[in-house]
């Protein structure tokens, strides 16, 4: 097992990181050398100008801040609602449940391009088009069905008996959920948080269609400014992309303790 493990890990790392390395290389290559040197592993001359332009001269600090607010808020909102909704789907049998599940699934099947115009109208109606609040609401709504399914599948994997025992001992349902079941579902909660955070962090289509003001732009929409009709500012775009990966790495490093956290011994019988 050991013998084949490390080559696999190296393989995965290479596949994951090589394109990122290539982008990093572009981000430190002076514009003039970008095409003229052919395929080389490292440019003959390097520059940090693109990072300087992105961080100091442009509006990217604002874009990153907006993206961060939107992503964190969306992730937290979705997780809170999905913890409740998934619980209802997992622990209760009720009329209309099958219909509800089908509707939730249907929401995932219809192409997003077809709903952009109607959503635009809804947002206009509540005066939230062109603001990050509108984005937060839309992202929350679109990530909820999947997050809810996910939480449901994690609840399904934890036994009801402990919870019921606690309720017999006098806990309310909410207390039993908080004290007994949720700790068991921490990996699921971590996965949901991470999943929704990145989904909101990298979303482009809604952000592009709903936001016009510079002050409300998220980073994926802001990055489109580098693409004009005749040229793409590859260096700055690559620099912005590399910078955008840093918060995500930190976020994942933080939530991985939830995901990786095993179950305490004896908490469960199979």
């Amino acid at each position: 097992m050991k013998v084949i493990k490390y080559p696999f890990i190296i393989g995965f790392l290479t596949f994951t990181l090589f394109p990122v390395f290539w982008m990093f290389k572009i981000s430190i290559t002076p514009d003039r050398l970008l095409y003229s040197e052919g395929i080389v592993a490292w440019p003959s001359n390097t520059t940090w100008d693109h990072y300087y332009a992105v961080l100091i001269e442009g509006s990217f600090p604002d874009y990153f801040l907006n993206s961060f607010i939107v992503s964190i808020t969306t992730a937290a909102l979705v997780t809170i609602f999905a913890v409740l909704g998934g619980y209802a789907l997992s622990r209760f049998q009720f009329r209309g449940k099958i219909a509800l599940l089908i509707i939730l699934l249907l929401t995932q099947m219809f192409p997003i391009v077809m709903v952009i115009a109607p959503i635009y109208n809804v947002l206009t109606y509540i005066n939230l088009v062109d603001s990050i609040s509108g984005l937060i609401l839309v992202y929350t709504a679109f990530n909820l069905p999947f997050a809810c399914f996910l939480m449901q599948s994690f609840y399904d994997g934890t036994p009801m008996e402990l919870e019921e025992a606690a309720m017999i001992d006098g806990c309310t349902r909410m207390q039993a959920l908080e004290k007994i079941t949720l700790p068991l579902c921490l990996p699921g909660i971590g996965a949901t948080l991470g999943f929704v955070f990145t989904a909101a962090w990298s979303e482009l289509l809604f952000a592009l269609m709903f936001i016009s003001r510079q002050s409300q732009m998220t980073f994926p929409a802001g990055i489109m400014n580098f693409v004009t009709k005749f040229s793409v500012d590859w260096g700055q775009m690559a620099a912005a992309m590399i910078l955008a990966l840093i918060p995500v790495c930190i976020f994942f490093a933080y939530i991985q303790k939830f995901i990786v956290q095993g179950l305490t011994a004896g908490a469960l019988k199979g």
């Binding site: 095409y35 109208n121 206009t124 609040s133």
Partner: protein, 427 residues
């Protein structure tokens, strides 16, 4: 834990409510709203400076700008219009115009043009280009004329002394350059936006810049159109254009040219801004598009103009803004910076000089062997035809899945049907 979650939700909802009720979105409903679609940071700065002067001349009248990025501008503008966020003034590319006019969204500018004095040397056809039927809907702010850019260094290396003048020489030159290792002759624009090259080669081989005869039948049924398509198909098939140019859009043709993957580029003068940043100017030169068998050539003339929305509550002010942007000194600044053929003919000499880089455009505008080809922009489905049908079937032809005869006939069928519908509606 539950209490923390609950408070968090309340705080977020509070923030949402604040943005819904109190954030005015930086926009004063009394201001004019202008939307630009061919955005670049530098040009936005220039536009803002010209708008500031307008505001200074018209106290109490302020202008807001929304800048859309070119790639998604068409989608986003339609979304804004459908959602009721209607601009007053819009930057209107030629191939979108019929769409918006047929939807009744664009104001008729005829009265405004009749009552406004433009300088005498304004290009005669300016108002004609912006018209559909007998009404003026847009006024071009400059022309995107095509010429052939070439890389002098690569030409010298391939031993070519004289750039091509005729279609045959164009083919021979492309072939000769392709003998250089890793270099192809022609930067083919096979992806979105490439339709006008096919139209150029078809009309030029036909010897006429007309798309239709009197009855509305397409001239692409003619043998010349088929010959034109055959020529470009052969250039690709024989490897005189890069293999991946089949997918290239604007960006890729330009980067293909400056990365020296290919040596000849069919482009508009505004591409020069990007080229100068990445190449030595002394390596770039331009010539007019090669001449067809009739001794004439019909380079494509595109334009983007300023239009006013029919639903704008401040049309008078909006017209005044258009007038301001087209004023001679503003126009000169605009056309020079953006690299456009100006609408005032006497300015052409100031914008294009005698250098090798500008020669193609200067000669195309002055020599009678070159006449312009204007897309049938009055057809409301021309945008989708250009960007979808022509691209897809053009690629199929280049790959040998369809013959040039089939392709030309398919395009002619589409255009004829569309033109006949238009003629019937405009009896």
């Amino acid at each position: 834990m539950i209490r923390v979650a609950f408070s968090f939700v309340i705080v977020v909802l509070g923030f949402v409510a604040w943005q819904a009720f109190f954030d005015d979105k930086d926009r004063d409903p009394n201001n004019l709203l202008i939307v630009e679609v061919n955005t670049s940071a530098e040009r936005t700065g220039l536009l803002r400076a010209q708008l500031d002067r307008f505001e200074a001349d018209n106290p109490g009248l302020n202008v807001d700008v929304i800048s859309l990025s070119w790639g998604q501008a068409f989608e986003k503008l339609s979304m804004m219009v459908a959602g009721g966020q209607i601009p007053d003034v819009i930057e209107m590319p030629d191939f979108w115009l019929a769409r918006y006019v047929s939807a009744g969204q664009i104001a008729d500018m005829s009265d405004f043009v009749a009552n406004t004095r433009f300088d005498d040397d304004i290009e005669q056809d300016t108002f004609k280009y912006g018209s559909i039927g007998d009404k003026i809907y847009t006024i071009p702010y400059g022309y995107y004329l095509r010429a052939l850019l070439y890389n002098k260094k690569l030409f010298a290396r391939a031993g070519i002394e004289k750039p091509p003048l005729t279609m045959d020489e164009f083919y021979q030159t492309a072939a000769k350059i392709s003998e250089l290792p890793g270099v192809s002759g022609y930067c083919h624009h096979g992806g979105r936006g490439g339709a006008v090259f096919y139209y150029w080669i078809m009309t030029t081989m036909n010897g006429s810049n007309q798309f239709f005869d009197e009855e509305g039948n397409s001239t692409f049924y003619n043998q010349g159109a088929v010959d034109g398509l055959t020529l470009i198909r052969d250039i690709y098939k024989n490897g005189y254009a890069p293999q991946d140019s089949l997918n290239w859009g604007f960006n890729e043709t330009v980067s293909g040219f400056y990365s020296e993957a290919c040596a000849m580029l069919h482009q508009t003068p505004d591409a020069l801004n990007g080229l100068r940043q990445r190449m030595n100017e002394s390596d770039i030169a331009s010539i007019p598009m090669p001449l067809g068998p009739s001794g004439k050539s019909f380079p494509h003339l595109g334009y983007i103009g300023w239009s006013v929305f029919e639903q704008s509550p401040k049309k008078e002010a909006a017209f005044r803004l258009v007038e301001h942007l087209l004023k001679r000194e503003n126009h000169q600044e605009w056309a020079t910076r953006a690299g456009l053929v100006p609408i005032y003919s006497e300015l052409a000499g100031e914008i294009f000089d005698q250098s090798d880089v500008d020669e193609g455009w200067l000669k195309s505008t002055q020599d009678s062997r070159w006449d312009y080809m204007i897309n049938p922009n009055h057809l409301s489905d021309i945008a989708e035809f250009d960007s979808i049908q022509v691209v897809q079937s053009g690629q199929a032809m280049m790959l040998g899945e369809k013959t040039p005869e089939e392709t030309a006939k398919m395009w002619a069928d589409f255009l004829t049907a569309s033109q006949k519908r238009w003629l019937a509606d405009h009896e």
